[in-house]
Symmetry: C2
Subunit: 448 residues, 2 copies
């Protein structure tokens, strides 16, 4: 059997899989914090196009992927499913290990899978410009790429500390023609007011979200785009899991373990949700979610309504949260530093359908370098959490079993993190229960 | 027809194609500068393993690729041949444009195609450590990866100015477990002597070669590895052109133009040489070599014997040279800053079988950003020269013709160069005839 299982372009999925109608319990709706009632589509219209809002709430099981989106997907999809034989051998495991390589996109991660349709639906409705935030830079890169493909302008608010520490990410975003501002910026009311009181403010993802949302809400021709958490984002990522299913079928295998890292939950959801019907029908498939101990939403958070952002601009979402006031420690997997998770993923977690595990970053970097030493490629720090979990699972798996993990992105723009690890300069973080209890107090009291 | 033409792993070439027996005129042999006579295999034995020396001089047309090398190739090969439809459309050309994507390797370029077999043959002969030089860092990364795959140690001498300007390249090399030293270093006699007279010396590729060769020559368990120019390097790269041939056959097409950038000539040679028999048999295939105007070896150099390195440690090679004393201007395509070219490529050039073209770097960066704006991916500065030439050729090509260019590497570790371009800070360089004549005086007077 081949090392890389390639799916022919003709067999690339033509639909996204919408898990909403298949959930064992209905998804708790997003609530308007002012009224405590479900948010209406009209309330979202100032910041999202109707095509996206419809997908956020769709009852349809299969949603057709528009041809112009497929056209851009074909620049890098289908992505390979790779049998990690050299990793298996180094570990001495009895099972097979596969990884689904989403690092092959122009942005180097899975993020374009949703950036492309988001740009498309905005273009379709006459939007001229997209505004978004980015922390580590993966999402800003992906939306910049997608905007360029559809001839949209793109404005990225990048958390100031990352903007200064990661010049390569900034330049890559600019090379796609996007405007990029260090957040807090002078471009928005919220940015100016923060700078007025704290000129040296280094920014936060929550603040950058606030700037991007304000930009979209105050400009007629501009909408906002989000890279994780929401249903439509997870929906778009289901192309990943569907491809995995077809590729395993080519190999004559079925998955026993599906492993992904969880930040906002979109890459993990995109991998596992297409296998939900089989799991609910009784097939023994374990969904393994890997998260950092420094931001242990699934393993230590509470399942309740909370704001999606620090500035409380978003609707309330029911999710495993550490409280929107939670300040995750500065681990290098920037994409995993989010206080909540996608409601779709949390719904499964609450049903006992997910095996969530939390890891220290030094253990994850060690796993990443073992992967690199055997399979050759350098993973992103976020991806290293999935690798760590996959290795742990594989060591306990039996002969004949198959472990599949999602290789969500490469680490070529994260080399400063590896430098710190190689020099022994990385700290492992874990909050005390008292600290987490304190952060949880920032959750609103509305109960869903 | 698919956007990406994938070759099944089962059809990956099992042999490298050796053009030596097919050349219309025999290749001029490397000469010993002391005697003016052809270099014997024994003279090369202190720095190269016999398996490599045999390939350097082999009369066999097809050389079998060892199974352990194929195993590592399969981590990233076969690479896709991509139909650049969006680029075609943006240009409004009538022909088809394809690119062969060698950026997909763990090192991000075509360099592992030769690093892997070089590491393998050294391992086979009991070598414990490889020493090499690197300028921009592509080759040092590739040999570090390949050494790791075969359990060899690797020492990289990196030109000091690059070592300091490109920390990400240094870290990537270190992440594979290699030792890396800024050259000139304290590790070698030549390094120490340079530092003694000039403590602030920023190094040069020629000096780094000298350090690596000295390291290999003075340590029993250590050999040297070179990333371009020599016959065996070009030989290993012919897997690229062979794959292109099979992939075009799948598409039902034949190439009218094969386009590659030329630094030392190995990626270009690897692309075009497998098509040499067809070309010599009368098929109309144009081999287009793209080089920088700042280092115009094929377009303005002389075809004569010269040293391969500045320090005159290598045998004399017959090639298109600007003189080994030529100091190329500091263009951003570091991999194209070499005073000579592979003798195999120069042999074809001298026979009139190559259409060589030289470009300014600003024009190449402009072409690179057009490629990125249409096809999504950011090319290496070296690769941008091939893109510039491919666009030029495509604009003049007719309907029904096919232009194939080699996408030799990605630009994710060259973002500082793009930043300079985007800010209008790149200078275009071209030497006067007087300056080139002066550099040519450094060539030895031996005539081949």
């Amino acid at each position: 059997m081949d090392t890389k299982i390639m799916l022919p372009e003709s067999e690339m999925p033509k639909h996204w899989y919408n898990a909403l109608p298949d959930l064992p319990t209905p998804l708790a709706p997003p609530l308007d914090p002012a009224t405590g009632k479900p948010v209406s589509p009209e309330q979202l219209a100032p910041i999202f196009p109707m095509g996206i809002i419809a997908q956020e709430m769709s009852p349809e099981r299969m949603i057709e992927i528009p041809e112009p989106v497929l056209d851009i997907y074909r620049l890098y999809r289908p992505t390979p499913l790779v049998r990690a034989r050299r990793l298996e051998k180094a570990l001495g495991v009895k099972c097979k290990i596969y990884y689904k390589d989403e690092s092959r996109s122009p942005a180097g991660s899975h993020k374009p899978n949703t950036a492309i349709p988001q740009a498309y639906y905005n273009k379709l409705e006459g939007v001229k410009r997209l505004a978004t935030e980015t922390g580590a830079g993966q999402w800003g890169t992906a939306l910049s790429f997608a905007s360029k493909m559809f001839g949209l302008e793109c404005t990225v608010y990048m958390v100031k500390v990352s903007y200064n520490q990661k010049p390569y990410r900034r330049i890559l975003i600019q090379s796609y023609g996007s405007q990029i501002y260090a957040s807090p910026s002078e471009m928005t009311q919220v940015g100016r007011s923060v700078l007025a009181s704290d000129p040296d403010c280094q920014g936060s993802l929550g603040l950058a979200i606030s700037e991007a949302v304000e930009d979209a809400a105050t400009h007629e021709d501009t909408k906002y785009a989000l890279g994780s958490v929401l249903n439509h984002v997870v929906l778009h990522q289901t192309i990943v899991g569907q491809e995995v299913k077809s590729q395993l079928a080519i190999a004559g295998d079925k998955p026993d373990y599906l492993v992904g890292c969880v930040g906002g939950g979109s890459n993990f959801g995109g991998l596992v949700l297409p296998f939900l019907p089989e799991k609910l029908a009784g097939e023994k498939i374990t969904f393994v979610a890997a998260e950092p101990k420094a931001c242990p939403t699934l393993t230590r958070g509470q399942y309740r309504y909370d704001y999606g952002d620090v500035a409380r601009l978003t609707p309330l979402l029911k999710m495993h949260t550490l409280g929107h006031g939670y300040m995750p420690a500065p681990i290098h997997a920037g994409g995993l530093r989010y206080h909540g998770d996608a409601p779709l993923v949390c719904n499964l977690m609450a049903e006992g359908l997910i095996d969530a595990r939390a890891y220290y970053q030094n253990d994850c970097f060690e796993a990443a370098l073992l992967f690199q030493a055997t399979e050759g490629f350098l993973p992103a720090p976020e991806t290293s959490h999935a690798i760590k979990a996959a290795i742990e699972v594989a060591k306990q798996a039996e002969a004949g079993q198959n472990v599949v993990f999602l290789y969500s992105g490469h680490g070529l723009l994260d080399l400063a993190s590896y430098d710190a690890y190689l020099h022994g300069n990385l700290t492992d973080f874990e909050h005390s229960q008292e600290e987490i209890d304190e952060a949880l107090k920032t959750c609103p009291t509305i109960e869903g």
